[in-house]
Symmetry: C2
Subunit: 189 residues, 2 copies
Amino acid sequence: MKKSLGPRTLAYPTPVWVVGSYDKEGQPNIMTIAWGGICCSQPPCVTVSLRKATYSYGNIMERKAYTVSIPSVRHLREADYAGIYSGRNEDKFAATGLTAVRSALVDAPYVQEFPMVIECRLLQALDLGLHTLFIGEIMDIKADEALLGADGMPDIAGLAPFVFIPTEHAYYQVGEMVGKAFEAGRKEG
Amino acid sequence: MKKSLGPRTLAYPTPVWVVGSYDKEGQPNIMTIAWGGICCSQPPCVTVSLRKATYSYGNIMERKAYTVSIPSVRHLREADYAGIYSGRNEDKFAATGLTAVRSALVDAPYVQEFPMVIECRLLQALDLGLHTLFIGEIMDIKADEALLGADGMPDIAGLAPFVFIPTEHAYYQVGEMVGKAFEAGRKEG
């Protein structure tokens, strides 16, 4: 028997992504978001949603670019910090000790210490209400060389990803592999 | 040192969501997707991206509605199945033994056996290339009554969520809690 919880944003899991942007003065900023996801395979695109009140919103509208740096659990504290405070009042790179790297492909910075980063040029900004949905074309994905395996892909143990679960306002580590996609549900014979 | 992996859809984690829709004849269909996410808090909205070639694409365009049923690891096989085969050739509810429930709020069915479901009315369909981004307003979220705790929220152990990791084409269980959001990164004092 199912019970109604009302029209709310309780869908899970959601990512913990750190969005990088430059302000008018070229000061790098980061902001952590959970409202986002991949939205197209060709061209490869990814969405992030931001409130218009955020400092990053103005940056992305002006620079037409953003990055997504994906933290490991090792960076949980820094990622949570970047979601609480505003770049309007804080130099979040200085406060966290994280290093801003200027992307060579788009007009935005990424976080050097995080194991994987996505560089995006803004394709569209859709005002949906409280949030604006940014659609960005993925110009490149970069990962720490030390984490790459024989297949050229980063090792999941090194990435050590975690997710945000909205029903609990909590972060959960990604645990054990439980199945291979496009195989587990194949018909037999 | 970071290495370029090229412009690809490797962002993680991504959800494993089972999208429900009706076809012209009123036959319920499900399709598993990983390209999606919450995109607005007010009104609460969620995106799912589908290729135009899928059966569900036509259903959603016609019915202007869809549901998202979130499987637990107990339903991994059924969820993977629904992402491999097409509703054009298969009755996926019959094949998996899952039960279609007609939503009372939107013109789409959801999966009774999955612990949490989201009912959406279509707000926008954006053609991005290979995929079309559907933006749906969340009309209600429903969860299994047996999983609800004292706070009225479903218990994470009962939800038993899992995620899709694109770099490995694999499903990973959500493991241990590693921090509280909006707390772990707070400045001290």
